[in-house]
């Protein structure tokens, strides 16, 4: 097919798609025009009932915590799949650190601490201020990934040790399930918040949703780090081995 023919097929399709989009956009409701009942109910009741200021976190880790449990295991299964596909049987080579700039090392190392601290804060206070287990977990893993960027593979290897990460990932994912079961054992529906009732705006306000956040944070941080470590082992180590 020549370029000319392709353009002649593409143009009517583009015009059709554009017309559909314009038609669709003309019909969407204005910003903030919401009629469903659940948003208003949650907005009114999440803080009085669950003592959490952040309604989004109260929804995802408490009121609809069961949905998040499912998402948790999607990530869990996906990372196991990647590990199975990329599993490297070779011995790890001796590698020298590639980063030569002292400035990058110093400021980068400071940024590692900052990123991990922000991640921990996001997990711990997710139900008070914006944040939560997922966001905090990825931020913690990002801070550890920064170690590779500022100090090289050898320094990162300590963070990417699967002997350490696998149990953390398992305890995180399993912990979420166990917190739900604890409610069941107490004669309440699965994942019911067990001791919600701390003062609003404090780290104690979330009740067992706080622990759910920590379980999710552990799982997400470890899963991301396993992913980074596997990709680095598979893709970067062979390059360094040759050179």
């Amino acid at each position: 097919m020549t370029r000319r023919v392709r353009i002649w097929i593409f143009l009517p399709a583009l015009a059709g798609l554009a017309a559909l989009l314009v038609w669709g956009y003309l019909g969407i409701p204005g910003f903030g025009d919401y009629h469903g009942p659940y948003g208003f109910v949650l907005d009114r009741l999440a803080t009085p009932l669950r003592h959490m200021d952040n309604v989004v976190n109260a929804t995802t880790y408490d009121i609809r915590g069961f949905d998040t449990l499912g998402e948790e295991f999607i990530l869990f299964a996906a990372v196991i799949g990647v590990v199975m596909l990329l599993r490297d049987t070779d011995e790890k080579p001796e590698m020298r650190d590639e980063v030569e700039s002292d400035l990058v090392r110093v400021f980068g190392t400071l940024a590692v601490g900052g990123a991990i601290l922000v991640g921990l804060w996001l997990v711990a206070f997710g139900f008070v201020t914006p944040g939560g287990g997922f966001q905090g977990g990825v931020a913690i893993a990002g801070g550890a990934a920064l170690v590779y960027l500022v100090a090289g593979y050898r320094a990162f290897a300590a963070f990417g040790d699967e002997q350490v990460l696998d149990p953390i990932k398992g305890v995180g994912a399993g912990g979420y399930v166990v917190i739900g079961l604890a409610a069941l054992v107490s004669g309440l529906p699965y994942l019911t918040n067990l001791f919600s009732g701390g003062a609003v705006g404090t780290v104690w306000s979330g009740g067992s949703a706080g622990f759910v956040n920590w379980a999710a944070g552990m799982e997400v941080a470890a899963a991301n780090l396993i992913l980074y470590a596997e990709f680095l082992n598979q893709y970067i180590v062979p390059i360094a081995r040759r050179s």
Binding site: F31, G131, G132, V138, A139, G142, A145
Partner: protein, 88 residues
Amino acid sequence: MIATLVPLQSVALALVALLAPAVVLARDPLRMIIVNGLYGLVLVLLFVIYGAPDVSLSMLVVSTVAYPFIVLIAIARVRARRGEKEDE
């Protein structure tokens, strides 16, 4: 409140409209992933301005940390392999 937000919203929307095609038009994968990171940051800005800080945090950690890291590693490997072929 809304009156002061409108100019900010317009700026954020304009940046999104500018950077979205820029991602597609950057044909080199390395350049594309960097522009994609910038596009992600602009979306973060948009979400914050529209009052969705939780979504913006998810977007921030995924589009500027997790996704570029994995893609950059893959690009490095492909480039190394290509360099190898040129040597032969």
